[in-house]
């Protein structure tokens, strides 16, 4: 099964996000081994150097770590770090577009809050 990558983002960034999502959604648990660079390259049909670039960024941020000769693993607090990071960007990624679309449609802030309140 090959996952088709989208065209609008650099590929290494999409690889990085796929791994992040897998950790946040609980598919990859702390201390679990993640696929090798070659496995990523094969799965996504990309150059191994590109896969490596995406993975290395996660290594640099302490999300995953390498054990020489064994493989790459999810750090114990990877999920915590990622959720914290995603919360930081939640406003710009989700709230701002929501509010600007609401403004475009003439939905007032009160109405918007009311809608969200009714959701749960």
């Amino acid at each position: 099964m090959n996952i088709i990558l989208e065209g609008d983002k650099p590929i290494f960034q999409q690889i990085k996000e796929q791994i992040e999502d897998a950790i946040i959604d609980g598919f990859l648990m702390a201390e679990e081994r993640i696929p090798s660079i070659n496995e990523f390259a094969k799965e996504y049909q990309i150059n191994p150097a590109t896969a490596n670039k995406g993975v290395n960024e996660l290594v640099d941020r302490g999300i995953i770590y390498k054990k020489r000769g064994v493989g790459m693993f999810v750090s114990s607090d990877a999920r915590k770090i990622l959720i914290e990071e995603r919360k930081q960007s939640f406003e710009s990624s989700y709230l701002n577009p929501l509010i600007s679309e609401a403004e475009r449609l003439g939905i007032t802030l009160e109405e918007l809050i009311d809608m969200i309140g009714r959701k749960k």
Binding site: M1, N2, I4, I19, F27, L28, I34, P35
Partner: protein
């Protein structure tokens, strides 16, 4: 034009390339005729063009069998991958022959297309590149005015811009004068947006025959946890399963527009080309 295929079988020695195939094609439309190598596409197209006799079963165009039917064959223009023209003739001579053969031949369009593809009338087929000969095939098909025009891998040797020009011209001609265009190609991603109807052959059988829009809504790729995925699949057919980073993925062929999936499943549409790749991986599996 109505094409009716009933119980059509074609056998070469002991190899069955088409196995009791039945379907209808209703034009005008641009129809994508797909299948991996050896699926039986070219055998079928040769029979539709009236060039080859079925081993059993029938192909009828407007209610009449096509094989060796001179009048009907003029209504069908078949552009094959190669070998459409004798090597020693010139482009000009090809156009003259076309004019004699096809009752609706559009000379003006042919002249215009020669210019667009930068072909010169005095050039002989044997001195032309593969891409140039392919371009002449495309010109023949488009200018033939034939109510059924078949392009079977028509752009061997043509570069991306040449193929793009072909797609544009095809859409333009279809808009000006709607006909039944059957396009068989392996470059599916490039061409799939042109299709109204898609027919996928697989090991001598018709595996999928649906409007392209239905394929896009009914064949989906769902990802998530195994239990939820299984619940969502229900009794629908699964074309392919895989697992990566503990996430399960299934390509599902629903009979009808599928019910909404739970929010925890990620749903994606699947590209036709990817679908074809998966189908050929599951060669032995019976679907549809």
């Amino acid at each position: 034009m109505n094409i009716k295929v009933s119980q059509l079988t074609k056998q070469y020695r002991n190899r069955k390339v088409l196995d009791e195939v039945s379907f209808n094609l209703q034009g005008p439309a641009i129809i994508g005729f797909l299948g991996h190598n050896g699926a039986g596409k070219t055998s079928f197209l040769n029979m539709l063009a009236g060039l080859v006799a079925p081993s059993s079963g029938t192909i009828e165009v407007e209610g009449e069998p096509v094989f060796n039917n001179g009048e009907l064959m003029k209504q069908v223009c078949f552009i094959a991958e190669t070998g459409n023209f004798p090597l020693h003739v010139s482009i000009g001579q090809v156009l003259t022959l076309n004019k004699l053969f096809f009752p609706n031949w559009n000379e003006e369009l042919a002249e215009e297309l020669l210019e667009q593809f930068s072909l010169r009338k005095k050039d002989k087929i044997k001195n032309m590149s593969k891409g140039m000969v392919s371009a002449l095939g495309i010109i023949t098909g488009l200018a033939s005015g034939a109510p059924i025009t078949i392009f079977d891998e028509p752009y061997i040797g043509m570069d991306a811009s040449g193929r793009q020009l072909f797609y544009e011209l095809l859409v333009e001609q279809h808009a000006l004068e709607p006909r039944t265009f059957i396009l068989s190609t392996h470059l599916i991603d490039e061409a799939s947006n042109l299709f109204e109807d898609v027919l996928i052959m697989h090991e001598g059988k018709v595996l999928v025959h649906q409007p392209y829009e239905d394929i896009q809504t009914n064949i989906v790729k769902a990802k998530g946890r195994q239990e939820e995925l299984e619940a969502y699949i229900g009794s629908s057919k699964v074309i392919h399963r895989s697992k990566f980073m503990n996430e399960h993925t299934a390509v599902i062929m629903h009979e009808n527009v599928p019910a909404a999936a739970p929010a925890s499943l990620k749903l994606e549409s699947i590209k036709l080309q990817e679908l074809m790749v998966l189908l050929s991986k599951n060669k032995r599996r019976e679907i549809g």
